[in-house]
């Protein structure tokens, strides 16, 4: 029934680390929620079902918990329905999870031969006999990656995660997405093993694409939770880059590198859980106090909400992959495994990997920009609305949730060797090479890359030296006894007010303009100019909305197609109100003719003839003449 190997336990730990601080936070958040009972039931069912997914040992239970997970999270999104957009988001979310479920179901049905109570090892036997393993791979991919929010199945994520109450967003983004990663690990390593090279490349390119797309759309968001949700897409992309590299190395028989890349991916999974939960919690705290998700209405909250601001800062540093944070370490590991591609023999692959490096590096740079924006606009400067002005720090429980989660972030940073040793065991238990001794050959101080060029990082040394030098300077500054005077902002002599400071839209302006070809933003600019001057105006209004390209191109056209088909089907179906006898006549004709044709003796001429007869008959008897 249940499985408790190291992989499962690691993910149980991940879920617990992600949800225990969250429970504190959620309890603190509870007074804000009207339907408490509904919320609590689904909240705990959600956590329970995630735990259930990672410990189930057969397809039936796995799918059961998987659906319960989707169901409860869907209901959680609907906890606070304030406007139509929430309803739409919830619907879209549920459709997408169901879409993923369809593929998962097919995957399981194929690999379990109809016996859904089969264990995973028995599945491997069946899967290896299946003639089209790539089909299985794509089913798996579509199933899990639609949950994880990988491009192009990511569109729901920036709608659904912000719509949920903040503790739930933290859980969904921080923890639920990881359950999908668990699925990938479990079924790719356990069931679909040996892989062809292409699979790794597919995952790698999907990862690279989603990391870039995620961060680009994050930058264009003004809704703080949607921004964070877009960052989840990016981070899942980063995880997949590590994952894909692991798969590629494995097929090329570079076992050590493969384990290293997988550990990197798993480490980043943990890190993302920690900092994304923390970010959503603090964003939720801000939202709780200001009653808006719009970043343009924030500002200066660091003074009123120091704990929240500090938590957000830690998480922001970590997600921007700045040393010596845990986010930096995992991204470093992923970079190292990408750089190790120079060990490969395959020249075209070798040449292609720098593009992934490029994507990852670009993502890193843009993430920094994005979090400077998020932090700076939210917590620094002047308040941009009255709500922001009167905001106060959140209650103790919410604070303690954030502090606990910050503790998780810090623990991942401080005890990296311990975690890596544990992750190493996961892959050893799945039949990989152990690389812990290679990563930490001489104690916990230095972390080595396992590649030939010997990249190295010493997180603790870095941390200590940074702290020491900063402390030293601060001490010197205090010793100096510098006189300080508080005065209004100089700003070249202009008066500065809440309106004159940079807005979130403005901050992202240069980048948005540079990526205009991708964003194709919907811009609204009205100004009332004075006396026909181009540059002098009494009032102006600028608004910009970016609708994801994929949504426009892909999803809306599918929706349109569905609508069209249903329209024609509906019209056709209405013939049966008056022409039922003709319909029965035709179906009889069709069935009997086909029967005679296919079961007795088949000939193409007759098949064509049948089609002609059917067309004529339908035209004459059902559709009739135009009046």
């Amino acid at each position: 029934m249940f499985i408790f190997d190291t992989l499962s336990l690691v993910f149980v730990a991940l879920i617990l680390l992600g949800s225990i601080p969250n429970i504190f936070y959620s309890t603190g958040y509870l007074p804000h929620i009207k339907r408490k009972m509904h919320y609590q039931i689904h909240y705990f069912a959600f956590i329970g079902s995630m735990l259930g997914v990672v410990v189930s040992a057969n397809a039936l239970l796995f799918l059961f918990f998987w659906e319960i997970m989707s169901l409860s999270s869907w209901q959680l999104i609907l906890t606070e329905v304030e406007d139509k957009s929430t309803i739409k988001a919830a619907r879209f979310y549920f459709l997408m999870t169901h879409f993923g479920f369809v593929f998962l179901l097919l995957f399981f049905l194929i690999v379990s031969d109809g016996n859904l109570e089969l264990g995973f090892s028995a599945m491997q036997l069946i899967a290896s006999k299946f003639a089209y393993p790539s089909l299985l791979f794509f089913f798996l991919l579509l199933g899990f990656l639609s949950k994880a929010g990988v491009v192009p199945l990511h569109v729901w994520l920036p709608y659904a995660h912000p719509a949920a109450p903040s503790p739930v967003s933290a859980l969904m983004s921080g923890v639920m997405l990881k359950v999908a990663i668990y699925g990938m690990l479990r079924f790719l390593l356990d069931v679909l093993y040996p892989w062809p090279l292409e699979w790794g490349i597919v995952i790698l390119s999907l990862g690279a694409l989603s990391s870039l797309v995620g961060v680009l759309y994050a930058l264009s968001e003004h809704d703080i939770k949607a921004l964070l949700a877009n960052h989840s897409i990016e981070n899942i992309g980063i995880i997949l880059i590590g994952f894909g590299m692991g798969m590629i190395f494995d097929t090329l028989h570079l076992e050590v590198l493969s384990s290293f890349a997988f550990i990197a991916a798993l480490f980043h999974t943990f890190n993302h859980m920690s900092f994304k939960s923390l970010l959503f919690m603090s964003a939720g705290a801000v939202l709780h106090q200001t009653h808006t998700k719009n970043m343009e209405k924030y500002g200066g909250l660091i003074k009123a909400m120091p704990v929240t601001a500090f938590a957000f800062l830690i998480a922001a540093i970590s997600i921007s992959a700045l040393p010596p944070s845990n986010g930096f370490l995992s991204e470093w590991m992923i970079f190292q495994s990408l750089l190790s591609s120079s060990h490969m023999e395959n020249i075209s692959l070798k040449l292609a990997i720098p593009f992934a490096i490029f994507a990852l590096a670009m993502t890193g740079g843009l993430a920094i920009a994005c979090f400077v924006k998020a932090y700076g606009i939210t917590f620094l400067g002047l308040h941009r609305s009255t709500n922001a002005k009167h905001a106060t720090e959140v209650n103790f429980l919410m604070k303690s949730g954030m502090v606990l989660m910050a503790g998780v972030v810090l623990s991942l940073m401080l005890f990296t060797p311990f975690y890596i040793e544990w992750f190493d065991k996961v892959f050893v238990s799945l039949g990989r090479v152990s690389v812990y001794a290679k990563i930490f050959p001489d104690g916990v101080w230095h972390m080595h890359s396992v590649g030939m060029h010997g990249g190295m990082v010493s997180p603790l040394v870095l941390l200590l030296s940074l702290l020491a030098i900063t402390a030293l300077m601060l001490f010197a500054y205090r010793l100096f006894g510098v006189k300080t005077r508080v005065h209004k902002t100089w700003a070249c002599g202009y008066t500065s007010s809440a309106k004159s400071q940079y807005s979130a839209t403005g901050f992202a302006g240069p980048i948005r303009r540079f990526f205009n070809w991708l964003y194709r933003p919907d811009e609204h600019f009205d100004k009332e100019s004075v006396a026909g001057h181009e540059t002098k105006f009494s009032s102006s209004h600028y608004e910009v909305h970016v609708q994801p390209l994929f949504e426009r191109v892909f999803y809306q056209s599918i929706a349109k197609l569905t609508n069209t088909i249903s329209y024609w089907v509906y019209r056709l179906a209405h013939f049966e109100k008056t022409r039922y006898a003709a319909m029965i006549f035709n179906i009889m004709l069709l069935v009997l003719f086909s029967y005679r044709l296919f079961s007795h003796e088949f000939s193409w001429a007759l098949a064509v003839f049948e089609i002609l007869v059917m067309m004529t008959s339908v035209k004459i008897l059902i559709i009739g003449d135009k009046k």
């Binding site: 089909l135 509906y570 179906a573 006898a581 029965i584 179906i587 069935v591 009997l592």
Partner: protein, 471 residues
């Protein structure tokens, strides 16, 4: 003896329906409840149990179906008690309704328990004709028109079934003589049928008849229109009981056809049901009222049941059948309350309930709505898993594996459309529109609770075990 016991409540009901008495309403309801008792007795007997020679034989399959149907019957009767609170219905119409309900039961018992194609058909025709008048209890022009529609289409469908039966009989008569109408004998000697072509042609014609009756392609909307025009208990009867009689027939015929030529049967039914689900899913995508929505979804589930059955997963088919037979009437009965503020008011239909009764009501209805799109822990979730599992196993053994897997994928995507529509309707019922107060009566609530309990009972290990042992 057993036969008399089975028929007695129905006959009693028939007679009481002629009494012009205030009390007769309750007496009628009572007699309707009593129908369950002999069926439970039948259920406990050792199978197969011959009720009337070789004509009526109770085996595991038909007692299960009969039991499910009778529970649905009780639920419908419960809802009938307060029908007059939601819609205008005269006592006379009520009595007439019960009169035909009694005939309906008699026809149903015959057709479900029959081991004889002829008897099966006679029962089915009786049940069909008696429902015609039930539609007309609603005195509106629409209902009148739909009653005619039902009369004619139903008659064609049933005639086609008989035509098929005669062809099958003709194909087997050379070896079995007059006994060629008995299901069990036919099943045993299916391989010896001298002209499989004739048999398969008969099977095809009969199947078309049955499929039309269940609302399959191309007649997808007629059931929906009829159920829209009639009172909601009638719709519940249609989806919960009448369809079961048809589907039992299909089970029996297809069992024989599987023996004759499995590939032909499978391809025929598979293509037919996929076409059906294709049309139905897009019709559901446009459905704008509860009745049509539920009735179209009923067609979809019937198609799935049929599909599971022919893919060699009788367990999944029967589980799905049971779940559908309980869920759909429950939903149909609740439309009486849901639509109390207008037929097309979906938005806000799940709001505005006061008190404990109201809370239980909307809670149960939400559960049913979510269960019908096979979200766990609905039995449908499991039956679909097993059913699709069987389909994939069949696919893996066939020569066209990729095409089959593609077809299953296509099917699942079509089901996703239905899923989407239901989710969106559920959300709209719960979170959109204005809150208008609605009244729930105890009898309706009892009916819903009965169905909910039956669903739970369906998931008990013993039941599952029983279902696995049917075939």
């Amino acid at each position: 003896m057993m036969l008399a016991l089975l028929l007695a409540p129905a006959l009693f009901m028939f007679l009481v329906s002629f009494l012009h008495n205030e009390k007769s309403k309750y007496l009628l309801a009572f007699s309707s409840f009593v129908i369950l008792l002999p069926i439970i007795k039948l259920f406990t007997l050792v199978k197969p149990y011959a009720i009337l020679g070789t004509y009526l034989v109770a085996d595991k399959l038909d007692t299960y179906v009969l039991l499910v149907s009778s529970i649905v019957g009780i639920g419908v009767t419960l809802a009938l008690l307060t029908l007059d609170k939601h819609v205008k219905v005269s006592p006379k119409a009520n009595r007439r309704f019960y009169r035909f309900f009694a005939i309906f039961w008699i026809g149903l018992i015959f057709s479900i328990l029959s081991n004889h194609m002829g008897i099966y058909w006679i029962g089915l025709e009786l049940a069909t004709l008696s429902t015609v008048y039930m539609i007309k209890t609603n005195y509106t022009p629409a209902a009148h028109k739909e009653a005619w529609n039902y009369m004619i289409v139903g008659a064609i469908a049933v005639s086609l079934i008989l035509f098929g039966i005669i062809l099958m009989y003709a194909s087997a008569k050379p070896i079995l003589g007059e006994d060629a109408m008995q299901f069990d004998l036919l099943l045993q000697h299916a391989k010896e049928i001298p002209s499989p072509f004739l048999f398969e042609m008969g099977f095809a014609i009969a199947t078309i008849g049955m499929f039309i009756k269940m609302g399959f392609f191309p007649m997808n909307l007629w059931l929906a229109n009829i159920e829209r025009a009639s009172f909601y208990p009638v719709a519940a009867l249609f989806s919960g009981i009448l369809e079961s009689a048809v589907v039992v027939g299909f089970f029996r015929f297809s069992q024989i056809a599987m023996e004759v030529n499995y590939d032909h049967l499978f391809i025929f039914v598979f293509i037919y049901t996929i076409l059906t689900i294709f049309i139905v899913s897009f019709l559901i995508f446009r459905a704008k009222d509860f009745m049509r929505l539920f009735s179209l979804s009923g067609v979809e589930h019937m198609a799935l049941i049929v599909m599971f059955w022919v893919s060699g997963a009788p367990f999944a088919a029967l589980l799905h059948f049971g779940a559908h037979a309980f869920l759909k009437p429950a939903l149909f009965l609740s439309t009486g309350v849901l639509e109390s503020n207008g037929k097309y008011k979906i938005a806000g239909a799940l709001r505005g309930y006061k008190g404990k009764r109201g809370t239980i009501f909307w809670f149960l209805v939400s559960l049913f709505l979510l269960a019908i799109i096979s979200l766990p822990p609905s039995p449908m979730f499991f039956s679909e898993l097993y059913g699709f599992g069987a389909m994939i196993s069949t696919a893996k053994e066939s020569d066209h594996m990729l095409a089959m897997i593609g077809a299953v994928l296509f099917l699942l995507i079509l089901l996703s459309i239905i899923f989407y529509r239901f989710v969106s309707i559920y959300q709209s019922m719960k979170y959109e529109g204005e809150t208008e107060s609605k009244e729930v009566y105890p009898s309706e609530l009892f009916a819903l609770i009965l169905f909910a309990l039956s669903l739970v009972a369906l998931m008990l290990p013993d039941t599952l075990h029983y279902l696995k042992s049917v075939i």
